[in-house]
Subunit: 200 residues, 2 copies
């Protein structure tokens, strides 16, 4: 992997990029325990975006696995999930963290959050999302018990694990290296780290 092509998603922050139909994006869990909230928007019409609630219906599953295609809020393919070196656990259930989440977790001062990271990353491309869609929480490990309850667990990934996605339409893809440091979704030591991606 030529390091010069790597784009950094800074620890606790977001990064977005334009991707043409057919291009592949390799998203790397560089340090091994980082959740990356992932969004994709149709670059010709940002009101069409990757949707977890319609993707679940399309897949008949709460867990997208390599080989499937994620769809938009118009139920059209937007990201094909081509490869996965991780154990294949990528949450679709949990809305992205936001100021309200950290307020409720008892953080009094401003806390970085995936929602603000999405908006900031889009702003760097002179774009404004039409809303904050539910994110695809890549590498996030939310095991669901038979009674429907779930817990927030550390990722099952190791350093360098990656997923490869292919754009099925021209799109803007946005990532946030989740700044969650209160519950252990970014590892038992609750230390958010950077992650990387590469447009292939």
């Amino acid at each position: 992997m030529p390091a010069e092509n790597l784009i950094t998603i800074p620890a606790r922050k977001g990064k977005a990029a334009r991707v043409k139909k057919g291009q592949r994006v390799k998203l790397i869990n560089t340090h091994g325990s980082q959740v990356v909230d992932t969004w994709a928007f149709n670059s010709d019409d940002l009101t069409e975006f990757m949707s977890m609630e319609y993707t679940r219906v399309a897949l008949g599953s709460i867990l997208p696995k390599a080989g499937v295609t994620l769809v938009t809020n118009r139920r059209r393919p937007i990201l094909a999930f081509l490869e996965d070196t991780s154990p294949g656990i990528h949450d679709t259930l949990c809305g992205p963290c936001d100021r309200y989440r950290y307020e409720q977790l008892g953080i009094a001062e401003y806390h970085d959050n995936c929602t603000d990271n999405l908006w900031q990353a889009m702003r760097e491309l002179d774009l404004t999302p039409p809303q904050t869609p539910a994110a695809w929480n890549v590498f996030m490990n939310i095991p669901v018990a038979a009674d429907g309850t779930f817990t927030f667990e550390p990722p099952l990934t190791k350093p360098g694990d990656y997923v490869v996605l292919r754009a099925e339409m021209d799109c803007v893809i946005a990532f946030s290296a989740c700044p969650q440091d209160v519950v252990p979704i970014n590892g038992p030591d609750c230390k958010p780290t950077e992650a990387h991606f590469e447009i292939l």
Copy 2:
């Protein structure tokens, strides 16, 4: 139950109503096998609405049970779930049906759908939703297997089963008697029926 207070959600159609904070809403599965997609919007600011992705995080569960409170996209209480005479299975995973869903199911002509029903029901109150939030699919039975896959099954309810919800803020509540008649979520005979609600 005084029948004169019952409001009909016509088969395959939607109905919305304004509810004051503290009022209770009894939603009745009149004929026993009807899924009712349910939305709630803050009546002072429609951009705040009941959110499945943040409710799941608040509950640590994909299945709200009587005794919990559903929250908005700002993670504030909007509907307290007070009572439930049904077996307690009410889906939060599946986005509401729409024209795209029926097109993909092979229906060539227009098909009633929960998304259009939401917008029409709001229009009858001279309101426009800011978007189509994921609905709370009351009475909808979507069993999730240990591997994350799920199936679309008939409801486990019987005629007259009901839930009672209490508004935790002034809100507009909208219901759609889901017109799904291709997959058996409204019973094995795929016959959508009316349902009813009452503001107590």
